[in-house]
């Protein structure tokens, strides 16, 4: 007997009897016999729970346990212990999508809080209940810009976007039938003049630009919204939501859509997922938004209640005419984000940015002092992440760092190395890392 099946032999017999069947095989009497597998599958033997735990601990120990000095779309911020404690409550963890709202007010309320917090961070009007991850949120924004504009066929991507964001948007665009154009980076930032030249072609539905780009630089998007809106396109800002506590928001840039990955808000790195994509838009685009949305209403007694709303956008109603195919999203990870932001509050989030940025600037200065790197974008504003150009091939340095317990100096496509410092990194760690690099 395996622990997940409550059926006894007697149960099976009496249930078969009620169903008018003689054996378990009769349950498949409608399946052509050539498709029935008689023997056991080519799978491992069943493990006991203890054996399972031992085996997975052994796999866990085969992974390197390193101190992380790399970001590039996945940031090693601290997770307060309250978050896993609360998100493991089975009423949250083992619930389905809140279709039966009378017994799902817990889920519906936290999603409403999540939407409120995403709007507060981004400065936008309306947030949905979550998407899969940052890159797919960008892809949804790409599709949305096409459906929100008339006779526009092309979406522009800044080359400053993280490489994995560009790849996913390109994949979606290829099959959705959307042409992609690119805006290059000049002097460490999405080039405004190149953008204007592309916009002049009169076919641009949307432009996706990074609030903080792949080099860690906080971009200046002055004039972007006006130029794009003059050509009747949409400005889409791809953001690190943690940094939005201190950097200019999509709302302040007059963006139409804000997207990004909620991972920096207390989600573990977990080899890339589960994370949570967010999307927030201006009011005008409410009915074009993909995904679930929770709204406030009242029950028969007039008590405040929350429901899934504006569902006429969604696949289960509109089928092929829906704004997106998304059904399951990343609800539990949205709860992680909501609890994280509740704990941090405005001041905690600012302090996380201060600690990360101060540490990153300290590391930057110390690395430059070693004489082994060239500055790529001197004087450009950054927070927790930056790139440098190594004067010699960085392979040996990376190996030494790994051996000493550090994951740092990640190679980039451009031949730079990328570093990131979060509030988890101490001065002692940074000093040791610099010492290893200095020793060559």
């Amino acid at each position: 007997m395996a622990p997940y099946f409550p059926h006894t032999e007697a149960d099976v017999q009496s249930m078969l009897e009620k169903a008018g069947l003689k054996s378990l095989d009769d349950l498949y009497s409608d399946v052509p016999s050539e498709f029935l597998r008689r023997g056991a599958y080519h799978l491992p033997d069943a493990l006991s729970e203890q054996e399972l735990r031992d085996w997975l601990h052994s796999l866990d120990s085969q992974n390197a346990h390193l101190k992380v000095f790399v970001g590039q779309g996945a940031y090693d911020h601290y997770t307060p212990s309250v978050i896993p404690y609360l998100t493991q409550r089975s009423e949250f963890l083992t619930a389905y999508t809140p279709y039966q709202c009378e017994i799902s007010q817990g889920t519906l309320r936290y999603i409403f809080e999540y939407q409120s917090m995403i709007c507060a961070l981004t400065g936008m009007d309306i947030s949905n209940a979550s998407l899969y991850d940052g890159p797919t949120a960008a892809a949804e924004a790409m599709k949305m810009s096409i459906s929100c504009t008339r006779k526009k066929t092309r979406v522009l991507l800044s080359k400053g976007l993280l490489p994995h964001v560009i790849k996913v948007v390109e994949t979606y665009a290829k099959f959705h039938g959307v042409e992609i154009g690119y805006v290059p980076v000049m002097n460490g930032q999405t080039c405004p003049n190149c953008l204007k030249a592309e916009l002049a072609k009169d076919d641009v539905a949307g432009v996706i630009v990074p609030s903080i780009n792949r080099y860690g630089i906080v971009e200046d998007h002055s004039g972007f919204a006006d130029a794009i809106h003059a050509e009747k396109g949409l400005l889409i800002e791809y953001c690190d939501p943690s940094a939005l506590a201190v950097v200019k928001t999509p709302g302040e840039w007059d963006a139409d859509i804000a997207v990004g990955d909620g991972q920096p808000l207390g989600l573990p790195l977990c080899y890339g997922g589960p994370y949570v994509g967010f999307m927030a838009v201006k009011k005008d685009y409410m009915r074009k938004m993909p995904g679930r949305i929770v709204g406030q209403t009242a029950d028969k007694e007039g008590r405040r209640a929350f429901v899934l709303t504006l569902q006429a956008r969604e696949q289960h109603i509109k089928r092929e005419k829906a704004t997106s195919n998304i059904c399951s999203n990343e609800s539990l990870m949205a709860l992680w984000v909501t609890i994280y932001l509740s704990l941090m509050g405005p001041e905690g989030l600012r302090e996380v940015n201060r600690l990360s940025s101060d540490g990153a600037h300290y590391l930057y200065d110390e690395l430059v002092k070693t004489g082994q790197f060239e500055e790529v974008f001197p004087g450009k504003p950054f927070l927790k992440e930056f790139v440098l150009k190594p004067k010699k091939f960085p392979g040996l340095m990376q190996q030494k760092l790994e051996k000493a317990g550090y994951f740092a100096a990640l190679d980039t496509e451009e031949g730079y190395v990328s570093f990131c410092v979060t509030e988890k990194r101490t001065k002692a760690e940074i000093d040791e890392l610099v010492k290893i690099i200095k020793e060559g």
Binding site: H7, L56, L66, V70, T97, L121, V168, A305, N329, S331
Partner: protein, 468 residues
């Protein structure tokens, strides 16, 4: 469950904090230039740690999960979520792993992917899997991209249509549209299966393929699958298998053997990972050998998919092992047939015969309608079930019946639980016959009564700031 009315914002008081961060050991970094700096206020709650813990504990108590009680939600496979899987997913060597680390640093994680690839291939009869998709619909989209890529690689660019049965999940046609394919619907017969004669004229050289669930959304096995596969393949199309209904086939039938070329699995249904109130899921996509070349071009998520979910599913497969695997399929089908036969004297069963893991009733036989009093609907039955401590079945889906009530018990429910559910369903049928108004007003014992959904859509209040 008790009603609790706060939002976290309403507990806020200026100056309270719920965080504890290290002392700053660094010199201050230069200030951000004014033109890239946030100047607007940041409206987040200011609350203490105990406030947060009590608030979310109170919220959780207005929720119903699989651990709370029976959850017979059709097509959603709400089976038990093993707890050891949660413990394993939280191990630091998995949880702390950066997605951009090279293979030499992630041997344990890569082993999980390799072993899962082997196991899922054995379970489904597919050749290779991609683990990037984060949910079922995401898997569908990925699978359709692979389908289109296959035709593109052959230089066959005119195949722009995909055939979808009228009983399909809404995600099927929606995924096709996102993938740039035109949807052609094929009708079902009165016995709930695809009409093969109606399919034949649709199969020309503009068809990229067909999307199917088998068993279909009525819980019925598509008995003509061999013929359908032959016809579609002869017309140059591919067969896509929507794995939402894979549970009854576990250990018994493999989609690959039935002729499917591409499929996805919902690890958050069939492979026991928790639904989390609507995700995270994972929708790995498997392909037959001749489509392996199409996998590398298709990148649908940021890194390696939802690794944490894949890890839990791997643990589940290891706990079951080859000996118990078949029981998943058999017991899920046994329980569904047992409920169906125990209730069909009171609820309309539109299609007789053995079902798979789920089945659909078309409302009550006697809905109690008399004089001016309208009869009890499927919605009323569903809401009344909540009063008795059960989650409702899926309602008004599939669209083939007006009063559809779709019941899926899964293999992890005991006969005692199922018997209690049957007893309550019988009692509700009696209540409906005697006094349908009692059901119209249900639920009576939940934290809230039926909310005004029309008002919610007409006057959208979508964030705390809107309400205040």
């Amino acid at each position: 469950m008790k009603y609790y009315d706060k939002l976290i914002f309403e507990l806020s008081k200026e100056g309270r904090v719920g965080y504890s961060l290290p002392k700053n050991q660094f010199p201050a970094a230069p200030e951000l230039p004014l033109q890239v700096k946030r100047t607007s206020a940041l409206c987040l709650p200011e609350v203490s740690e105990p406030d947060v813990v009590r608030h979310y504990t109170n919220l959780s108590q207005m929720n119903f999960g699989v651990d709370t009680g029976f959850y017979p939600l059709g097509s959603c496979t709400m089976k038990y979520n093993p707890k050891i899987n949660e413990e394993i997913a939280a191990l630091p060597g998995f949880n702390g792993l950066h997605p951009l680390m090279h293979a030499g640093l992630t041997k344990g994680a890569l082993k999980v992917y390799q072993e899962m690839n082997k196991a899922l291939a054995a379970i489904t009869g597919m050749y290779a899997f991609t683990f990037d998709p984060c949910a079922g619909a995401h898997g569908e989209l990925t699978g359709l991209m692979i389908m289109r890529q296959y035709h593109m690689n052959r230089g066959d660019l005119k195949r722009t249509k995909v055939i979808v049965p009228d009983s399909a999940h809404g995600t099927n046609p929606a995924s096709a549209a996102v993938c740039g394919l035109e949807v052609v619907e094929v009708k079902s017969l009165e016995n709930g299966r695809i009409d093969v004669e109606a399919l034949k004229p649709l199969l020309d050289d503009s068809v990229a393929g067909i999307m199917m669930t088998n068993p279909n959304t009525l819980g019925l096995f598509e008995t003509q699958i061999k013929t359908i596969a032959k016809l579609v393949h002869e017309a140059g199309g591919l067969l896509y298998y929507d794995g939402a209904n894979m549970n009854p086939l576990m250990g018994v039938v493999r989609p690959g053997d039935m002729g499917f070329d591409i499929m996805h699995l919902n690890l958050h249904k069939t492979f026991s990972t928790p639904h989390g109130g609507g995700g995270p899921g994972a929708g790995p996509v498997g392909v037959a050998k001749h489509l392996e070349d199409c996998l590398p071009d298709i990148r649908v998520s940021g890194f390696h998919g939802n690794f944490g979910v894949i890890l839990r599913a791997y643990a589940y497969i290891l706990m079951l092992g080859k000996d118990n695997f078949k029981k998943v399929g058999q017991y899920s089908v046994l329980s569904a047939n047992y409920i169906k036969e125990s209730l069909k004297d009171l609820y309309k069963l539109p299609i007789e015969g053995v079902c798979k893991h789920e089945f659909v009733f078309d409302g009550l036989i006697n809905d109690g309608a008399h004089d001016d009093v309208p009869g009890a609907t499927t919605l009323d039955v569903a809401k009344r079930l909540l009063d008795y401590g059960f989650h409702a079945p899926t309602i008004y889906f599939p669209l083939l019946f007006h009063q559809a009530l779709m019941i899926e018990p899964t293999e992890t429910e005991s006969k005692e639980t199922i018997d209690a559910f049957i007893a309550v369903m019988r009692k509700i049928a009696e209540e409906a016959a005697a006094d349908p108004m009692l059901l119209h007003d249900a639920p009576h014992n939940t934290p809230i009564s039926r909310p005004d959904e029309t008002a919610a859509a007409r006057n959208p209040i979508l964030k705390y700031q809107d309400a205040n």
